[in-house]
Assembly symmetry: C2
Amino acid sequence: MRIGKNTILTKNFPSISGFAAVAGEKEGQGPLGDMFDYLYKGDTDGEKSFEKAESKMQLDAAKRAMKKAGITPQDIQIAFAGDLLNQCIGTSYGLRELQIPFAGLYGACSTMAESIALASLMIDAKYATHALAVTSSHFCSSERQFRFPLEYGGQRPPTSQWTATASGAVVVSESSEPPYINAVSIGKIVDAGVTDINNMGAAMAPAAAETISGYFSDTNTSAEDYDLILTGDLAQVGSDLLLKLLDLEGISLQGRHNDCGIMLYDRKKQDVHSGGSGCGCSAAVLCADILKRIKEGRLHKVLFVATGALMSPTSNQQGESIPSIAHLIYLSDKKEEI
Amino acid sequence: MRIGKNTILTKNFPSISGFAAVAGEKEGQGPLGDMFDYLYKGDTDGEKSFEKAESKMQLDAAKRAMKKAGITPQDIQIAFAGDLLNQCIGTSYGLRELQIPFAGLYGACSTMAESIALASLMIDAKYATHALAVTSSHFCSSERQFRFPLEYGGQRPPTSQWTATASGAVVVSESSEPPYINAVSIGKIVDAGVTDINNMGAAMAPAAAETISGYFSDTNTSAEDYDLILTGDLAQVGSDLLLKLLDLEGISLQGRHNDCGIMLYDRKKQDVHSGGSGCGCSAAVLCADILKRIKEGRLHKVLFVATGALMSPTSNQQGESIPSIAHLIYLSDKKEEI
């Protein structure tokens, strides 16, 4: 059921029946290191290119999520997936062998929320009994595509973020076990005029603010109704801005905010500057940590708000600012109407 | 309601309440030239870059479709859109000013069917009352991204296709006027091992064959139940292959097949080799010609099967073959259960 301007409440409370996260060495050395299902060795885990390594990770995460859900690829009736690479090749080559109906997405780093939102609606409307949502990113494939050749050793300014080498996958199903998806909000494209491609957090914070404030308004709820409002991936610079932007609207997140880009790395020791980013960052934090805590009843009500910057190197070189977007899903350990 | 393996029958028969197609000069000189809503001048219509010109086209098509549906952007509750450019910037910059909930897609040249399929399901499930589906391509922005700088004047082999400069948009709504979307099939990734990036038709034909044969099997129908089975964009080489592949399965399209890549240009006069391609090709043929004919009762039952090649220049340079996909929508001038 649609309420307010952008929010859809699910009526059948789709459930996440399986989830998995895999990551690279650096992510394995971070605070969530021992929570991943598998850690990849070196930059490619034996593959011939960074891109092939990313595809392998995405397939691996998808297979692990399906296994945990107790299903095979033949049970999946639709997959929603995407990544950061040009033409989303991390996904198309990664999921190729599964032979499942596939709807490709491009939402930059918002893809995990976009894919889970659409998968949930497919389950809620009974168009499918099992749907897959998966995304990935890889530091090396991203860095050379968006910024500089790795060998160049480009300097990174303090506002920059570190693209996570990671993949997360979830299976959304008709099931009576938590986590449940009780609501979703599809975001709008927001462009506050930021042009600095080394400050994605600043570009994406206005989109996160718009989606969160719109959701609170649509549902007549506030931060105190949730245990955690988890953005991804604003990192430290973007998170600080988000809180300021919401403050201007009279909205406080009341100490309940955290960000996947902050959670994935130890910023004091790991030289990631503002924090993590990349489709795989929020996907991995969600699937390695958050969903597990909801499933085990250690977290109850979570807003997962993944943010994406929708520019390209070409648009940046042509002087364009950075349009951004944020999609939201409301995860809970209980089926409940808002 | 889901039937068979991949097909969903709509129960509320979503309707296309508005549609529009805009295109470039070359498309204007083709057989459908006088059917477009607007023809752009030169390569950029006064914009500073090919990419900005593509964004302008996409916004224009979207606005025209909404106007014809008698609605404003505020009435659109979700937009599904994408294009061929890296990070889909044709779409993100094109639709930025509309301020509507947006789910970005990447389906290469299959995007028009993917976007209409998802928009239709949103309407069918009553998650929205109006949804937008839009896509675009531009010869110049594509050519320099996927192949060679335009100034290089690269030779094109006979199997190559010409990327259309065009955009098509539809508004899907709850309405009691045709065209109706009575069914959709979301395709699987199919890779027959083709590696020649100058022969997209051959790479995509197996995906079209799989989706069409799967749909016939799911619905227990055959080609004679439809007036037109319209693929896009296999062009001549791919279309010939499709008929052969289906023949091997004992399926005949009985003279009812046509292809958007064949329809958009006059191959004898326009030097497009095998025919047209690009997200905008099938979108423009559908929105300039086919939907009009269904609305006016000159066509009754149409399967629109848009095909996409999911490779990138990087994956090709790394020796990968070309994974492809085809999504199907069943358009009719009557609400009817299959």
